[in-house]
Symmetry: C2
Amino acid sequence: MKTKERSSENKICPLEVAVNSISGKWKVPIVWQINEGKKRPSEFLRGIAKVDRRVLNQQLKEMEQDGILTKVSFNELPPRVEYSLTELGEKLVTILWMLNDWGKLMIPAEED
Amino acid sequence: MKTKERSSENKICPLEVAVNSISGKWKVPIVWQINEGKKRPSEFLRGIAKVDRRVLNQQLKEMEQDGILTKVSFNELPPRVEYSLTELGEKLVTILWMLNDWGKLMIPAEED
Protein backbone atom coordinates (compact mmCIF):
# COMPACT_ATOMS: atom_id res chain seq x y z
CA MET A 1 0.00 0.00 0.00
CA LYS A 2 2.92 2.29 0.51
CA THR A 3 5.07 2.02 -2.57
CA LYS A 4 3.32 4.13 -5.16
CA GLU A 5 1.87 6.66 -2.74
CA ARG A 6 4.32 9.42 -3.38
CA SER A 7 4.27 9.42 -7.16
CA SER A 8 0.57 8.82 -7.68
CA GLU A 9 -1.16 10.64 -4.82
CA ASN A 10 1.06 13.61 -4.14
CA LYS A 11 2.39 14.39 -7.55
CA ILE A 12 5.59 16.38 -7.29
CA CYS A 13 5.18 20.10 -7.92
CA PRO A 14 8.28 21.65 -9.51
CA LEU A 15 7.52 25.02 -7.95
CA GLU A 16 7.42 23.44 -4.50
CA VAL A 17 10.72 21.69 -5.18
CA ALA A 18 12.23 24.99 -6.32
CA VAL A 19 10.95 27.01 -3.37
CA ASN A 20 12.06 24.34 -0.89
CA SER A 21 15.53 24.25 -2.39
CA ILE A 22 16.11 27.96 -1.82
CA SER A 23 14.16 28.55 1.36
CA GLY A 24 16.97 27.72 3.77
CA LYS A 25 17.65 30.98 5.58
CA TRP A 26 21.11 31.60 4.04
CA LYS A 27 20.81 29.92 0.68
CA VAL A 28 19.90 32.94 -1.39
CA PRO A 29 22.64 35.06 0.22
CA ILE A 30 25.15 32.24 -0.42
CA VAL A 31 24.20 32.05 -4.11
CA TRP A 32 24.49 35.83 -4.25
CA GLN A 33 27.96 35.81 -2.67
CA ILE A 34 29.20 33.19 -5.13
CA ASN A 35 27.68 35.15 -7.98
CA GLU A 36 29.72 38.13 -6.81
CA GLY A 37 32.93 36.15 -7.05
CA LYS A 38 33.28 34.80 -3.52
CA LYS A 39 34.36 31.18 -3.42
CA ARG A 40 35.43 30.12 0.04
CA PRO A 41 33.39 29.47 3.19
CA SER A 42 35.49 32.02 5.09
CA GLU A 43 34.48 34.65 2.53
CA PHE A 44 30.81 33.74 2.91
CA LEU A 45 31.14 34.08 6.67
CA ARG A 46 32.52 37.58 6.22
CA GLY A 47 29.92 38.52 3.61
CA ILE A 48 26.85 37.24 5.44
CA ALA A 49 26.29 38.73 8.85
CA LYS A 50 25.11 36.44 11.61
CA VAL A 51 25.41 33.03 9.96
CA ASP A 52 27.41 30.51 11.97
CA ARG A 53 29.88 28.09 10.46
CA ARG A 54 27.96 24.92 11.25
CA VAL A 55 24.73 26.19 9.67
CA LEU A 56 26.67 27.56 6.70
CA ASN A 57 28.25 24.16 6.07
CA GLN A 58 24.88 22.42 6.30
CA GLN A 59 23.32 24.75 3.75
CA LEU A 60 26.32 24.45 1.42
CA LYS A 61 26.01 20.68 1.63
CA GLU A 62 22.29 20.73 0.82
CA MET A 63 22.84 23.03 -2.15
CA GLU A 64 25.60 20.79 -3.42
CA GLN A 65 23.23 17.80 -3.15
CA ASP A 66 20.53 19.76 -4.97
CA GLY A 67 22.94 20.39 -7.83
CA ILE A 68 23.07 24.16 -7.37
CA LEU A 69 26.69 24.33 -6.23
CA THR A 70 29.86 22.43 -7.02
CA LYS A 71 32.44 21.90 -4.30
CA VAL A 72 36.11 21.53 -5.11
CA SER A 73 38.54 20.48 -2.40
CA PHE A 74 42.21 21.30 -3.00
CA ASN A 75 44.66 18.89 -1.49
CA GLU A 76 46.81 21.54 0.16
CA LEU A 77 47.96 22.47 3.62
CA PRO A 78 45.93 24.08 5.03
CA PRO A 79 43.14 22.39 3.06
CA ARG A 80 41.29 24.71 0.71
CA VAL A 81 37.66 24.37 -0.38
CA GLU A 82 35.97 26.39 -3.10
CA TYR A 83 32.38 26.53 -4.28
CA SER A 84 31.04 27.56 -7.63
CA LEU A 85 27.64 27.70 -9.30
CA THR A 86 26.58 24.86 -11.56
CA GLU A 87 24.61 25.55 -14.73
CA LEU A 88 21.47 25.05 -12.62
CA GLY A 89 22.83 27.57 -10.12
CA GLU A 90 23.52 30.11 -12.86
CA LYS A 91 19.91 29.77 -14.03
CA LEU A 92 18.77 30.39 -10.49
CA VAL A 93 20.78 33.63 -10.43
CA THR A 94 18.83 34.87 -13.47
CA ILE A 95 15.57 34.30 -11.63
CA LEU A 96 16.91 35.89 -8.45
CA TRP A 97 17.68 39.05 -10.43
CA MET A 98 14.03 39.14 -11.47
CA LEU A 99 12.96 38.61 -7.87
CA ASN A 100 15.32 41.43 -6.90
CA ASP A 101 13.62 43.77 -9.37
CA TRP A 102 10.26 42.67 -8.06
CA GLY A 103 11.42 43.32 -4.48
CA LYS A 104 12.26 46.90 -5.44
CA LEU A 105 8.57 47.45 -6.12
CA MET A 106 7.84 46.53 -2.50
CA ILE A 107 10.21 49.08 -1.01
CA PRO A 108 8.56 52.47 -0.58
CA ALA A 109 10.52 55.20 -2.35
CA GLU A 110 12.48 57.30 0.11
CA GLU A 111 11.90 61.01 -0.08
CA ASP A 112 15.15 62.38 1.30
CA MET B 1 21.44 57.55 17.41
CA LYS B 2 18.58 55.34 16.44
CA THR B 3 16.70 57.18 13.75
CA LYS B 4 18.83 56.73 10.66
CA GLU B 5 20.19 53.31 11.57
CA ARG B 6 18.00 51.26 9.32
CA SER B 7 18.44 53.18 6.11
CA SER B 8 22.13 53.99 6.45
CA GLU B 9 23.73 50.96 8.13
CA ASN B 10 21.68 48.04 6.92
CA LYS B 11 20.76 49.13 3.48
CA ILE B 12 17.64 47.31 2.37
CA CYS B 13 18.22 44.53 -0.13
CA PRO B 14 15.29 44.16 -2.54
CA LEU B 15 16.03 40.47 -3.02
CA GLU B 16 15.84 39.90 0.73
CA VAL B 17 12.55 41.80 0.87
CA ALA B 18 11.22 39.69 -2.00
CA VAL B 19 12.32 36.36 -0.53
CA ASN B 20 10.95 37.26 2.91
CA SER B 21 7.61 38.23 1.47
CA ILE B 22 7.07 34.82 -0.14
CA SER B 23 8.80 32.55 2.34
CA GLY B 24 5.81 31.97 4.60
CA LYS B 25 5.06 28.28 4.27
CA TRP B 26 1.74 28.67 2.41
CA LYS B 27 2.25 31.91 0.55
CA VAL B 28 3.37 30.50 -2.78
CA PRO B 29 0.56 27.90 -2.78
CA ILE B 30 -1.95 30.66 -1.96
CA VAL B 31 -0.74 32.82 -4.86
CA TRP B 32 -0.95 29.76 -7.07
CA GLN B 33 -4.51 29.00 -5.99
CA ILE B 34 -5.63 32.55 -6.69
CA ASN B 35 -3.88 32.43 -10.04
CA GLU B 36 -5.94 29.35 -10.84
CA GLY B 37 -9.16 31.20 -10.19
CA LYS B 38 -9.78 30.41 -6.54
CA LYS B 39 -10.94 33.41 -4.53
CA ARG B 40 -12.30 32.43 -1.16
CA PRO B 41 -10.50 31.19 1.96
CA SER B 42 -12.69 28.08 2.01
CA GLU B 43 -11.43 27.25 -1.50
CA PHE B 44 -7.81 27.73 -0.41
CA LEU B 45 -8.42 25.39 2.51
CA ARG B 46 -9.71 22.73 0.12
CA GLY B 47 -6.90 23.31 -2.38
CA ILE B 48 -4.00 23.33 0.07
CA ALA B 49 -3.65 20.22 2.15
CA LYS B 50 -2.69 20.60 5.79
CA VAL B 51 -2.94 24.37 6.25
CA ASP B 52 -5.15 25.41 9.14
CA ARG B 53 -7.55 28.31 9.02
CA ARG B 54 -5.75 30.49 11.56
CA VAL B 55 -2.39 30.20 9.77
CA LEU B 56 -4.07 30.74 6.40
CA ASN B 57 -5.68 33.95 7.64
CA GLN B 58 -2.37 35.21 9.02
CA GLN B 59 -0.59 34.61 5.73
CA LEU B 60 -3.40 36.21 3.74
CA LYS B 61 -3.19 39.25 6.01
CA GLU B 62 0.58 39.56 5.56
CA MET B 63 0.30 39.28 1.78
CA GLU B 64 -2.43 41.90 1.77
CA GLN B 65 -0.15 44.21 3.80
CA ASP B 66 2.72 43.51 1.40
CA GLY B 67 0.53 44.59 -1.50
CA ILE B 68 0.46 41.19 -3.18
CA LEU B 69 -3.23 40.52 -2.58
CA THR B 70 -6.38 42.61 -2.44
CA LYS B 71 -9.16 41.62 -0.07
CA VAL B 72 -12.77 42.46 -0.81
CA SER B 73 -15.41 41.91 1.85
CA PHE B 74 -19.00 41.62 0.65
CA ASN B 75 -21.62 42.86 3.04
CA GLU B 76 -23.82 39.81 2.81
CA LEU B 77 -25.21 37.16 5.09
CA PRO B 78 -23.26 34.98 5.54
CA PRO B 79 -20.36 37.42 5.02
CA ARG B 80 -18.29 36.71 1.94
CA VAL B 81 -14.60 37.53 1.48
CA GLU B 82 -12.67 37.29 -1.78
CA TYR B 83 -8.99 37.72 -2.57
CA SER B 84 -7.39 38.66 -5.85
CA LEU B 85 -3.87 39.37 -7.06
CA THR B 86 -2.72 42.97 -7.32
CA GLU B 87 -0.51 44.08 -10.19
CA LEU B 88 2.45 43.28 -7.93
CA GLY B 89 0.98 39.83 -7.31
CA GLU B 90 0.54 39.23 -11.06
CA LYS B 91 4.21 40.09 -11.59
CA LEU B 92 5.13 37.59 -8.89
CA VAL B 93 3.18 34.90 -10.75
CA THR B 94 5.37 35.48 -13.81
CA ILE B 95 8.48 34.88 -11.73
CA LEU B 96 6.94 31.84 -10.05
CA TRP B 97 6.39 30.30 -13.49
CA MET B 98 10.10 30.71 -14.13
CA LEU B 99 10.90 29.15 -10.75
CA ASN B 100 8.53 26.32 -11.65
CA ASP B 101 10.45 25.69 -14.88
CA TRP B 102 13.69 25.81 -12.94
CA GLY B 103 12.29 23.34 -10.40
CA LYS B 104 11.59 20.88 -13.22
CA LEU B 105 15.33 20.69 -13.82
CA MET B 106 15.77 19.47 -10.24
CA ILE B 107 13.35 16.58 -10.56
CA PRO B 108 15.00 13.46 -11.94
CA ALA B 109 13.20 12.17 -15.02
CA GLU B 110 11.09 9.12 -14.18
CA GLU B 111 11.79 6.07 -16.23
CA ASP B 112 8.49 4.24 -15.98
